[in-house]
Each structure stands twice: as structure tokens, then as C-alpha cells.
Amino acid sequence: MYHKFDAVVVGAGGAGLMAALQLVGKANIACITKLYPSRSHTGAAQGGICAALGNTEEDHWEWHMFDTVKGGDYLTDQDAAEVLARDAIERIIEMEHMGLPFNRTPEGKIDQRRFGGHTRNYGEGPVRRACYAADRTGHMILQTLYQQGIKENVTFFNEYHVMDLLINNGRCVGVTALEIKTGELHTFHAKAVIFATGGFGRAWRVTSNAHACTGDGMAVAYRAGIPLMDMEMYQFHPTGLYRIGILLSEAARGEGGILRNVNGERFCERYAPTLKDLAPRDMVSRFIYQEIKEGRGAGPNKDYVYLHVDHLGKEVIDAKLPDITDFARTYLHVEPYKEGVPIQPTAHYAMGGIPTNIDGEVILDEKATVLPGCYAAGETACVSVHGANRLGTNSLVDLVVFGKRAGLKAAEYCQQNDWESLPANHEARSKELLGFVNAGASDGKRTEIAGDIRKDLQNSMQDNVSIVRNETGLTAQMGKLQELRERYGRLRLQDTGTKFNTERMEALELGCLLECAEAATKGALERKESRGAQFRDDFEKRDDVNFLAHTLAYRAENGGVKELRYKPVVITRFEPKERKY
């Protein structure tokens, strides 16, 4: 079926909804999402969204900008970080006006709390910068934005899976999508397309990400010839529930929670004397890794440490951390009032993604050439404000700040530009892909099971491309991914139905995961330094001479990474320094 809209937003998480709202009244818009909007993973975000409001103590956006740059280990583009820190304040106020129920201070202002890596006066000590709504900040943002979408009558295409990005004459002209309920293929002809499809945490075994976080937007863009930037920069959050990876927010530590090893020692003190447990995530994850490696982990396999909140008292726990403690009870049958919760680092956030400039326009190369009509925002995009490591609460800010900017820019583009026609055979690539997957049902030689491929992918990524990496592991992983890609070519399919065929959706998603994993691994292999989330035990030092640059990965026509290029980092205010906390 054919649809024509001025602008199409792909994804209805925080970024997608914020972008869509900017287009209301200016363009005829559709928001396409493979889940109902309220199911997007933004709803899982717990801890907070930061802005230098200074409601509870002195704070300035410059401090926020500095923390963002330093937290990102100076790979952060500083023009973008400045936009983020400045705009954050307005965006928070704007969302409050939309009805977001933030927690309040005794004077009735938005309450703020501490979060990892956010400091006073350029690194002197922790500052209260994270605005929050109990420990369901992301949930409230998602709800509030969705509610505004309803109010403004945004057209939603719920449970439509976007498969392909259409480009004609150097302009982006739309997308194709599969309607899950009917199995029908739809073409959305548009002047502007905004990608906001979230992350790809499902490439790892232990992850805080939803099953739906499979990097679809990244893969679709990548296949259409757009490079992926800094994919090796993948964040592991220190506190995932042991074994299953469900996140226990940093808010737990922001409120005073403490990490202890098997001997009951508060080990973060040793590594980061100033910020202790509130050091940035990449570091705390490495501290944990180190403790476990040196035999101070707990449990039969000595492979986890404890997060303690018991000393905070019932009231604080109930008022500020109810969800988090509920997770511990439900999934591990542990009582946080009384005991430490077993935790282990968990795959959490993609700093990298579809490269954009500070207006959310997708760029194609190291010279920042714009692809007209194509935008990206949120976790799927890489502006890059997070550099090599994102600070807690900075993602939600990223969503609303750059979601808004992308939306506004797209609105402007729609008003100023005419229609470009669809390319000939615009459904060909999608049909080919669908044909390939569907053939798995009839072709007797197709015997590979998606579950096995996914499991192998996740295990090998966990082993080779996680907190500590090296040449051997990464090279092995490249080989593994090659093998998995071949096996994917022999994928079996059992479900021959057309209606609500979720086995087919999962097969498509697995394909996307493979693309993302490969770009990430290749980037990590070639980045011969340690910076933020990329820690190489064979190159333990940061190398600003050779690698103060963003990786751009291009895809080869028939799969695999064709080439890597490097794009210089934008530095305005803060010269790179060693990162100590």
C-alpha cells in the first residue's frame, strides 16, 4: 500500500515522539513504530534526566557541558555538548509544562539528585543535577510525550516494522514498512524521514535492553549506504541484576547506595577517591571487572558483587527507589531492605549510531556532507554528545534536545522543499529481503535456527567485545561474525503465516543485530587505544595523536564492513586532559 506524508518519523520512543511533536501543524506527518508507542524502551529508563536547573544547589550549564565532554573521554563533539547542556534546561521546563510529574522539592520546584559523573565546578565533587520522577523518569517522559501526541492528533502506525530507507537522486524519499498484523508491505513516500529507533543491546547476552532493541534503524541506514559512527563505543552499565542484566539504576548509587565485594569492602574508594561509587559508568564497570578478575567476586562462580541500599532506610527506598527494589525481589528473590543485591555489568547503551550534525541531519562522511531529507535522533543517532562514554541521565536529555532539533529542522525542510519521486522499484529491496526470509520455510537446505545464531552472537560478543577487549578476541570475533552471517544465509523459518508472523520479525531483527555487531567489532579492532567504553588491555593508554577521531564504518555491498574512515572531533572549550575522578 502507498502512503504519502510530508514527514515520517520512524520510532515512537522519547526521540521519535519529541521529533513528531515539532512537525505538528507544520507538516503532514506519520509516526511509524514496530511497538505501540508506550512500549518503547524509553519507558525503561529509571534514574533521571539532567539539566543545570540549580533547583537544589548551584549549577551551571557550562559545568554540565564539561562533565559531558570529560565523561565522554574527550571524544565528545563539544559544539554538540554545548547545545545539549544549554537546551536541556528549556526542554525539562517544556516537559514539565506538558504535564510530566517530576518529584518536587519542599518549595514545589522540580527536585534533583546526584548521578554518576555529574560534578560541581568542573570536577570538584558530585552535584544534584538529575531531575527525576521516582525511579520511572523514562516511563513518565514516554507517557507524557505520547499523551501530547494523542492531544495533537499525530497519526500513528502502530506495529509496523520499517524495513528499508528509500533514497532517490541523493535525497531521502521515504521508507517501506511491514504491517505486522496483516503481513502487508507499505511504502511511505515522504519528503523527510526521521530515524529514532533506539539501540542494539540485544547483541549481548547480559543486557538491560528490551527484546526490541535490535538496532533496526542503524542497520537499515547502513544498508542504504549511510555509515555508522563510533559503533565500538558501547556502554556497559555497572549494575545489572546478576545473570539477567535487568538494570538497577545509577539512582541507587545517586541516593547513597554502595558497591561492595565479597569481603564487604567498598572497592570504588580505591579506584576513584573523589567520586567513589559515582564515577562514570565505564570506570565503575571496569572496577567490578577487576574485582571479579582478582577473585573478590561473590557467589559460587565468584562472578558478581553486591549493591547495597539497606543502610538508606525503608522510607528513602520506598519513596525514591521503589521499582528498582521491586526488580530485586521479583527476579532474584532478594530483599534490598536487608541485604546486598547481586549485580554484574550489563550491556546498556550505544554511544554510536547514525552520524548526524547538531541539527539532527544525517551526514555521510568525514566532511559532514548532509543527506537531504534524512534525520536521526536518540540512541540510534550519534551526534556525538556522548563520545566514548555516556554519563547517566544524558541519554534522556539527548532524546528530547536532539529529537526536538531534528523535528524542527525536518519541518523547515518540508516547508522549503518540493517532492522528489520514489526510485524505480522502490519495494524491490524489501521484497528481496522478505523473499529471502520466507524461503526459509520451504527450502530444505535451510536448517539454521535463529535462536542458535542469536545465542552464538550474544555469547561471542559478551566474550570478545565487552568491557575489556584485545586484538586476539576482536580478530576471533570478526571471524565468528563472518561465520554467523553465512549461517544466517541458511536461516530456517517454521511459521508460514502472513498475519502476525513474529518469527519472521525476529529473523529480520537478527539480521540487523549482525550488521551492528560487525560494525562495532571492526571499529573496536581498528581503534588501537583505550578510551571510555573501549578498553584494550593490549593498548591501555588513550592515544590522542592517532585516535582523537570518530570511526565511520561503511558497509560492503554484499555484507561486511567495507572500510573505516575517521572524522575529527570538534573541540571548542576544553582541551583533552587525562581523565581522573
Partner: protein
């Protein structure tokens, strides 16, 4: 510590079946596995055609509300050992009542969301917001509607409510919970509009205080209490 777990699932494929029927599977599972993990392992390794919704896998997105052993639950919030699956008890899984079945455990959520929209689930305030600051709200005023902001629109409450099964028109507890979230927000001025919508025949007065909704809510929202508060607000404000 994996054990054998037996699950009985109500299957329905609109392209093949005239009627829904049960199918039984035996899977290897850990007592600490979620029911969702069990479904996944059936789908991934035994029967790829098994259909259900899921996303977050930890009870915050509301995708996988279904009837587990006769009660509406999120599959990702029930562990095998919570329902005795590791002790040899058979686990029975069915789609929610009160919704049209699209396929297997997947039900049509569109009417549910339409009802949600009908109560104007967004802040209504006719005055201009302050130019560069938030609207103030005391911590006590914020606390009043705290519980109902937790709703993830999973539908477990509505799908457990006898008047909701009975009538296709009743807005259902989920919509009411979300109305409560705004009606009792001190920043909102749309209470009148929402109360008059909810005061009609298909609104709060269809609720017969059955309490299934409160038992079913995976977010522990006191749903019935919210409904009662709205009814009283209506009564005292005529």
C-alpha cells in the same frame, strides 16, 4: 538447576484454525526463569509459530499481559517457581479475556487504546505556563496522584474485569486510572471534562467493585481505590 516444565498454551491461528485449542509443550527451564523465557525457548527451539508480544522483559513496557494459570499477569514478571512450574505443576497460558484474539496470545489492543484516548489523557491547563520556570506543585499535591502515574497500559486490569468482558463499551479500569492521574493533578484544569465523560453510562459507574483489577495490576496500582476516588469526586462536586 534446570528442570522440566510443562506448559499448556491456548493456540489460535486465524489462517488455519476455526477454533482455539490447547497445545502442550515440555521445556527445560530454571526455577528463576521468567514465563517469558519459557515462551521464548518454545518459540526459538520448538515451535517458531508460537505468537505473543514482548519487549522489555522486566515488567515496564506492558507488552505481554496474558492469562497465566487463569489470572492476568505479565509473562516477564512471573517466574517458573512462582507458579510451581519447577515442582511439576502444569502451567496454563491463555490470551486475556475481553479482547479479540488476533493470533495465539496476541489480542487486539486498538479498542483499548481508543478508550484510553477517550478520557483525554493529557494535561489540560488553560492558563499560560510561566515563561522560564516550571509550574510549582507541592510535594503533597504530587503525592496524591503518584500511584496512578505508574500505569504502563498493559491492559491486565481491564482484561480481568467482569463488566469489561460483559460490555464492549465500558471504558475499563485502565482508562479510569489514567483519568485519575490527571484529575488529581493540581496543575490540571480538565477535571470537569473528564468527569463528565466518566459520569456517562460507560464510565466509572459501570465498575461493580469486583477488585480483580487491583489484584491483576503488575504495577501494584490501587486501581479500585482510584475508581472510588473519582466517583466520590463526582458526587461531592455536583
Amino acid at each position: 538447576m534446570a528442570t522440566q516444565v510443562t506448559v499448556k498454551i491456548l493456540r489460535y491461528d486465524p489462517e488455519k484454525d476455526k477454533k482455539a485449542h490447547f497445545e502442550t509443550y515440555t521445556v527445560e527451564a530454571d526455577p528463576l526463569d521468567r514465563i517469558l523465557d519459557v515462551l521464548n525457548s518454545i518459540k526459538w527451539y520448538q515451535d517458531g509459530s508460537l505468537t505473543y508480544r514482548r519487549s522489555c522483559a522486566h515488567g515496564v513496557c506492558g507488552s505481554d499481559a496474558m492469562r497465566i494459570n487463569g489470572r492476568n499477569r505479565l509473562a516477564c514478571k512471573v517466574l517458573v517457581r512462582d507458579v510451581g512450574g519447577d515442582a511439576g505443576k502444569k502451567i496454563q497460558i491463555e490470551p486475556m479475556l475481553g479482547f479479540r484474539i488476533l493470533r495465539d496470545l496476541v489480542v487486539d489492543m486498538d479498542p483499548f487504546f481508543e478508550k484510553y484516548k477517550s478520557i483525554k489523557p493529557y494535561l489540560i491547563n488553560y492558563e499560560d505556563a510561566p515563561a522560564s520556570s516550571e509550574r510549582y506543585q507541592s510535594a503533597e499535591d504530587r503525592e496524591i496522584f503518584d500511584e496512578t502515574t505508574k500505569c504502563i497500559l498493559c491492559g491486565a486490569c481491564s482484561g480481568s474485569c467482569p463488566p469489561y468482558w460483559a460490555g464492549p463499551d465500558f471504558v475499563g479500569p485502565a482508562a479510569i486510572v489514567n483519568a485519575h492521574r490527571f484529575i488529581f493533578d493540581s496543575r490540571d484544569q480538565g477535571a470537569a471534562e473528564r468527569l463528565s465523560i466518566l459520569g456517562e453510562g460507560e464510565g466509572v459507574f459501570r465498575c461493580r467493585t469486583v477488585y480483580n483489577c487491583t489484584d491483576a495490576c503488575p504495577r501494584n496500582i490501587p486501581v479500585t481505590k482510584a475508581i472510588e476516588q473519582i466517583r466520590r469526586a463526582m458526587l461531592y462536586n455536583r
